[in-house]
């Protein structure tokens, strides 16, 4: 609902006077008077009601026909009856009709016991059927996809799954086929419904028609317990419920939190729980002995690790993975900073952050929250592909565009899943981020000077009382820079069309609510600092610090990236982004270790050989150093190079807090006990500290959180109780002056000419790695998801492919610097000519073999001379002739 305040009305339902916001659907308004109206198809998450099931009919005085309460807005003085004979007859009729073609096989149905059809049949049905004819038959159950089974006999055709596919995930796979009682849910041509969010239809289904293949026949509702927690597979941090039976996680369901996830999950989040019970999990400490990792006692493992680290002292470094909790990260940085005297701690991969920019971007004025997307008039997504980096945000942006009419601007150096729904797509060159943002600022400035946006919208970037306030520091200099810059040359530098930039800026200038999503990779590399400064300038120029629902949301690379930064897991900043003597960042740690300058490395949930750039250099670094690893699985980094391995908890076993990218502290709660000898990770770090002579006096995660709340000014006072089930968003809290001061001030940067991006040479495309939702260990370690684990693919513009004599579906050899990988060619019309895109983090043919960081020029040759597959399809659009 829009943020505008609604007026309240009084209506009468079953003789009871009830107050409700005007225009609320009667079905919801009735709940305010504790009147329950049964329904099947109504689901606010799916958008406008469809009125298909006819179950929710009520009598409204003054209207002759019964009305569907799911689509009747409540009005002042309305008199509604839900208990009259007429209503009951209609309810009985609908239930009887529904059961005509329902098999009533409840005893063998997974849904039995948690089934709305069962409940409503008991509560509102006639209790008997007069139908003695034959029911319809379908083959059953059959696979709608490898993850979802469909039983069409049980289906009551409520439309929910079809609406989800068409109106929420917008994949348009599902539809109704045939007519009348022959109608069934299916896909075109019976193709499998494999899509990133497909699993949500299981939860939406009000009967047992759509069931989870891995959960089928695993438990009955009366044998299970629900346990609320947070998914840590990606920065979306969706709220989830673990279904636990006999100390095993058997299922994951959404725990709806509209400020985080709207009640949706991606399929990785829904099925990735299987990794918890993987046979391959490390469940006891391991120590390398005679070249092999062998089981060891905790005492020995801790002692060996402490000895190695102590010996290295300050010549040690820690790489902290994104799924680490705030408590674990906080404790480890204390161990490194205090017991080892080392500041070589990093939770980012893209280089050190400029503390001033990092603090300013964290200021509450510039922060938006996820639910602000619902009120946004313009959404600008910069350097991010949410579908692959934070999938639930992708759904939220689609919702903003489809349901609330927001205008979407996508600006990225790679094709994104949101391109199709965007009003403007600006595809800049990789490395052209800063140039693009400067061009954008220039276009905004031009529009401002020519008297505002061409469209008539109220300009509300700052509250009027502040209109006369002095300009922010640095503003005159920035405006001066922009006035002397040329939009055309900046655009050309970035590789975008100036008019497109102008059109996009025109959407933004003067818009009421602007949400800017930006990918962490924007700040990667040497040019990252300049790009972040340019982003902050655009945000300030657009007045994001003023609008009520305006602001920035970062899409980070790691799940808890924001929390880890805020608790001090950075080489140059301590807890609360406080200044610290800079240590080495990830890339520097890699370089130093490879050169033999660092003696010990601690990998906390980190697999650098897979997830960091420059795999070969990492191989050398890990080979040189004494490596202590703390993880659930033996990744290549660990198996080949770790001296000591501590078994890590899975997210279902963990207690602690994580921080959502929009600043929301969320609690992880253990659903099951630890397998084998696994111990609480924060305790292991405390014990390691003790071995190193540092006494950390913590008894529970709560006491660790209490100390973090002491140390981080803007977390001050936060407690597990306050965080609760729905999280606690610190930028919304009343912050002490000291906390605000710790985040510096809002000011414009001192800009300089942006650096030029790399250009392809000699017709060799420059290759850039892009994120992939499915390229992750969760996919590989969960049997149900394994089929989605991607093979390496090379996205190419059709013109380049033609020039290289290679086409869609063919296997290519991609080589650079004497190294090569194989990748399947995918033609994409929205890929930039002269550039090519590889997936990041694949299990095989890893892109980081080729790339030492930024883009790299590659030789592309065809591997096989076999004929291209028939039915060559482009990923987007067509591209003329192909060879």
């Amino acid at each position: 609902m829009p943020a505008s305040e609604r007026s309240w009305v009084t209506f009468t339902i079953d003789g009871l006077e009830v107050r409700a916001p005007e225009g609320e659907w009667l079905l919801d308004a009735a709940k305010r008077g504790d009147v329950e109206i049964p329904y099947f198809c109504y689901e606010p998450k799916l958008g406008a009601p469809v009125g298909a099931c006819r179950m929710c009919m009520v009598e409204v005085e003054g209207i002759p026909k019964l009305q569907v309460s799911c689509a009747t807005p409540v009005k002042d003085g309305m008199v509604v009856n839900t208990q009259t004979d007429r209503v009951k007859e209609a309810q009985n009729a609908v239930v009887e009709f529904l059961l005509i073609n329902h098999p009533l096989d409840c005893p063998v149905c997974d849904k039995g016991g948690e089934c709305p059809l069962q409940d409503i049949t008991f509560g509102w049905g006639p209790g008997r059927s007069r139908f003695v004819e034959k029911k319809r038959n379908f083959p059953k159950p059959i696979a709608l996809s490898p993850l979802v089974a469909i039983d069409r006999e049980r289906c009551i055709l409520c439309y929910r799954c079809v609406r989800f596919s068409q109106e929420v995930s917008e994949d348009y796979h599902l539809t109704f086929l045939e007519r009348a009682d022959h109608t069934f849910v299916g896909t075109f041509d019976g193709r499998p419904y494999v899509a990133p969010f497909a699993g949500n239809i299981i939860e939406l289904c009000p009967v047992g028609a759509l069931t989870s293949t891995p959960y089928r026949f695993r438990a009955r509702p009366w044998e299970i317990e629900d346990s609320g927690s947070v998914c840590t597979f990606c920065p979306s941090q969706c709220n989830i419920k673990f279904t636990v039976r006999d100390e095993r996680v058997e299922r994951v369901l959404a725990r709806q939190n509209d400020d985080v996830d709207n009640g949706w999950l991606c399929d990785k989040g829904r099925y990735g729980y299987q990794s918890v019970h993987s046979e391959q999990r490390i469940d006891q400490p391991l120590v390398r002995d005679g070249g092999m990792l062998r089981p060891a006692s905790w005492e020995r493992a801790l002692r060996t690790a402490a000895d190695g680290l102590r010996k290295a002292g300050a010549a040690s470094g820690a790489i902290i993975g994104g799924s680490t909790t705030n408590e674990e990260g906080y404790l480890l940085q204390r161990v490194f900073r205090e017991a080892l005297g080392s500041s070589n701690i990093d939770s980012r991969r893209g280089g050190s952050l400029d503390p001033r920019i990092a603090r300013m971007l964290s200021r509450p004025e510039l922060q938006a929250q996820v639910s602000d997307l619902d009120h946004a008039t313009v959404v600008l997504a910069v350097a991010t592909d949410p579908l692959n980096e934070s999938p639930i945000i992708d759904l939220r942006v689609r919702k903003a565009v489809r349901r609330f009419g927001a205008k979407l601007i996508v600006a990225a150096a790679h094709p994104t899943a949101l391109d199709g729904g965007a009003t403007e797509v600006l595809s800049f060159k990789p490395g052209g981020e800063e140039a693009f943002l400067r061009a954008f600022a220039k276009a905004m400035r031009q529009i401002d000077q020519s008297g505002g946006a061409e469209q008539e919208q109220p300009r509300s970037d700052r509250p009027p009382e502040e209109a006369g306030a002095p300009p922010l520091p640095g503003q005159p200099e920035l405006l001066d820079f922009l006035d002397h810059a040329s939009l055309d040359s900046l655009s050309e530098l970035a590789g975008v069309v100036a008019q497109d930039v102008r059109d996009a800026a025109n959407l933004l200038v003067g818009a009421e609510n602007i949400v800017v999503l930006w990918g962490e990779r924007l700040g990667d590399g040497e040019q990252g600092a300049g790009a972040l400064a340019a982003l902050a300038d655009v945000a300030l120029l657009a007045g994001l610090d003023g609008g009520r629902s305006s602001g920035l949301i970062e899409i980070p690379a790691g799940t808890n990236a924001r929390g880890l930064r805020e608790v001090g897991c950075l080489p140059n900043m301590g807890p609360g982004l406080s200044a610290r003597e800079p240590g080495m960042n990830t890339a520097e740690i890699r370089g130093a270790a490879a050169r033999g300058e660092l003696e010990a490395l601690y990998l906390l949930h980190a697999d650098p050989m897979r997830n960091q750039p420059d795999r070969l250099s990492w191989e050398a670094a890990l080979g040189n150093a004494f490596v202590v690893a703390h993880d659930q699985f033996l990744s290549e980094s660990i198996e080949r190079h770790a001296e000591v391995v501590f078994p890590a908890e899975s997210y279902a076993e963990k207690e602690g807090t994580v921080t959502h990218p929009d600043g929301r502290l969320q609690r992880l709660r253990p659903a099951i006990g630890h397998p084998g000898a696994v111990r609480m990770e924060w305790q292991v770090i405390v014990e390691l500290a003790l071995e190193l002579g540092l006494d950390l006096p913590y008894l529970t995660t709560g006491t660790v959180l209490a100390e973090i709340a002491e140390q981080v000014p803007f977390y001050r006072g936060a407690s597990a109780e306050e965080i609760g089930a729905k999280g606690l968003r610190w930028p919304e809290r009343e912050l002490a002056d000291e906390a605000l001061r710790s985040l510096g001030e809002l000011r414009f940067s001192a800009p300089s000419e942006p650096p030029p991006p790399l250009e392809p040479v000699d017709g060799r495309p420059l290759v850039v790695p892009v994120a992939s939702l499915w390229a992750s260990w969760e996919t590989e370690r969960s049997p149900a998801l394994r089929f989605l684990s991607p093979k390496q693919e090379l996205r190419l513009n059709p013109s380049d492919a033609k020039r290289l004599g290679i086409t869609h579906g063919e296997l290519a050899r991609v080589a650079a610097n004497g190294r090569a990988i194989h990748a399947t060619v995918r033609l994409a019309a929205n890929a930039r000519a002269g550039w090519a895109y590889l997936l990041e983090g694949t299990a095989e043919d890893a892109a980081n073999v080729l790339t030492p960081g930024g883009p790299v020029a590659v030789e592309i040759t065809r591997v096989s001379d076999s004929e291209p597959a028939p039915n060559v399809a482009l990923e987007a659009g067509t591209a003329g002739d192909r060879t």
Binding site: A93, L98, L157
Partner: protein, 480 residues
């Protein structure tokens, strides 16, 4: 072709050769109304004239056409006009002839309505099976565009409106206005929940005016001759003429243009020739297969919107289907039920399951497995459908079947008894239920039917043939 007292409005000059060509149409005064509207009248004046004429929608609902057009929001927004030419109701074939013989009359009407409501995009959604008519229309639209009656800056008036002919894909439900919109948008044609009504949020979420072919075909005549002239036809509340499709057991089936308010008997007997000699009218549908049947006692009612509604039925699309005394009522019920079951879109529960159940019940009666209690069940199922559906399709089956049971209950009971006896003769014992179990007996049961000496219930009443020696059924001699 017989016409009413005067020459008729829509069917005037219908027999002129090459009537569908634009030059012939222009010679007979065509497109003068569009010229008058665009050059001599403001859009508002045209709208007022249409409202004053009292022209009521000819597609079934009978809502004032001018009023409907006036509901559209004013201002520079994308608004749409959809002409509903998805004429698929059994018994209705008037639009087919109106398009076939005089496509330009419709095109002119579309343009006038678009001008009145400030619409710049118009569509004619034509039934998929009307292949020839769609081609005729497309040719005509091409001619009209060439002559500048359709497209940009029509007749140099500054008014522009595009016109696209879109063919349906063979679903009756797409004649329901919101399903038509979904279908036109490229989606599966399913009715939408209302509100929002199409006048507020229709095609592509824009305000949309949806009118029937016959309604729009009247517009040029109203503009040309004025609302007063139009009101001189028909009755006060149902002004104008109506093209009535008469079919079934009549000697001269066809389309007849009559003034609204003439006695129904005049249409059925004087124009369509009444049933074949020696037969009597058993029942008749006054407004297509979805209207509740009337009987012989209703033949003297004036044929207009009000009197048909008062008699418990409706004028609908104005399609009279006559059923004579040789046709068993069970056949008629089965024919209606099967059609609506086949065409139910499956979106809402009462229609989807109710049409299915009704067909199965009637089949059970036919197989000789029903008991007299099943007539009550049949009625109860109809009651559970009526008023509970998302659109009118469910009611369109339930209301005529209810009416049939109401008027011919003894015949239903007799059918049940006769067929049950026949089944027992074939299978012996206590009834057919033993033979095949409930509902799993042969689908059609031809042997049963032969044994019972009754007619097959499949297909159209026209196909029904009856044995000469068959005894009259109860209820037959009640009507003339």
């Amino acid at each position: 072709m017989s016409t009413p007292t005067r020459e008729g409005i829509l069917f005037k000059h219908f027999d002129t050769p090459n009537r569908q060509r634009i030059d012939v149409y222009e010679q007979l005064g065509g497109y003068r109304a569009l010229g008058k509207a665009l050059t001599e009248m403001t859009a508002d004046q045209v709208l007022k004239e249409l409202e004053a004429s009292g022209l009521r929608g000819r597609g079934g609902a009978g809502f004032s056409m001018g009023k409907k057009a006036s509901f559209l929001r004013h201002g520079e927004i994308d608004k749409y006009l959809c002409c509903n030419a998805d004429e698929s109701e059994p018994g209705a074939f008037k639009d087919r002839e109106l398009i076939h013989r005089n496509p330009h009359q419709l095109i002119e009407g579309v343009m006038i309505a678009a001008y009145a409501a400030g619409i710049r995009h118009a569509f004619i959604y034509i039934r998929g099976e009307y292949v020839e008519q769609a081609e005729t229309l497309e040719t005509a639209v091409g001619e009209a565009s060439e002559k500048g009656y359709v497209g940009d800056d029509i007749l140099s008036s500054g008014f522009s409106c595009s016109l696209v002919v879109h063919r349906g894909a063979g679903a009756y439900i797409c004649g329901e206005e919101t399903a038509l919109l979904d279908s036109l948008e490229g989606k599966r044609g399913n009715p939408r929940l209302r509100p929002p009504f199409p006048a507020n949020q229709g095609l592509y979420q824009g305000p949309t005016l949806i009118n029937n072919v016959e309604t729009l075909s009247n517009a040029p005549h109203i503009v040309l001759h004025g609302a007063e002239w139009f009101r001189s036809f028909g009755t006060e509340k149902s002004p104008g003429t109506k093209v009535v499709s008469v079919s079934g057991n009549v000697q001269r089936p066809g389309n007849y243009e009559v003034e609204l308010g003439v006695p129904s008997r005049h249409i059925i007997f004087d124009l369509a020739g009444g049933p074949p000699p020696g037969r009597r009218i058993k029942c008749w549908f006054p407004g297509g297969s979805s209207s509740p049947v009337l009987t012989g006692e209703h033949l003297d009612l004036p044929y207009d919107f009000e009197h048909m509604a008062e008699a418990g039925s409706m004028l609908g699309s104005g399609s009279i289907i006559v059923v004579d005394d040789t046709v068993p009522i069970l056949s008629v019920a089965m024919w209606v039920a099967k059609f609506y079951h086949h065409e139910s879109c499956g979106k809402c529960v009462p229609c989807r399951e109710g049409t299915n159940w009704t067909v199965q019940l009637l089949k059970r009666i036919d197989r000789g497995e029903a008991t007299p209690m099943d007539v009550d069940l049949l009625m109860s199922v109809q009651d559970n459908i009526i008023g509970n559906c998302l659109c009118l399709l469910g009611d369109s089956m339930a209301m005529p079947i209810s009416a049939m049971v109401k008027h011919f209950r003894p015949e239903f009971e007799e059918e049940i008894a006769v067929r049950r006896q026949a089944a027992e003769r074939v299978f012996g014992g206590t009834g057919a239920a033993q033979a095949g179990g409930t509902g799993v007996a042969q689908e059609e049961g031809p042997d049963l039917v032969a044994a019972a000496g009754t007619v097959p219930v499949e297909g159209h009443p026209h196909e029904a043939r009856v044995e000469e020696e068959q005894a009259p059924r109860p209820g037959e001699d009640e009507f003339d």
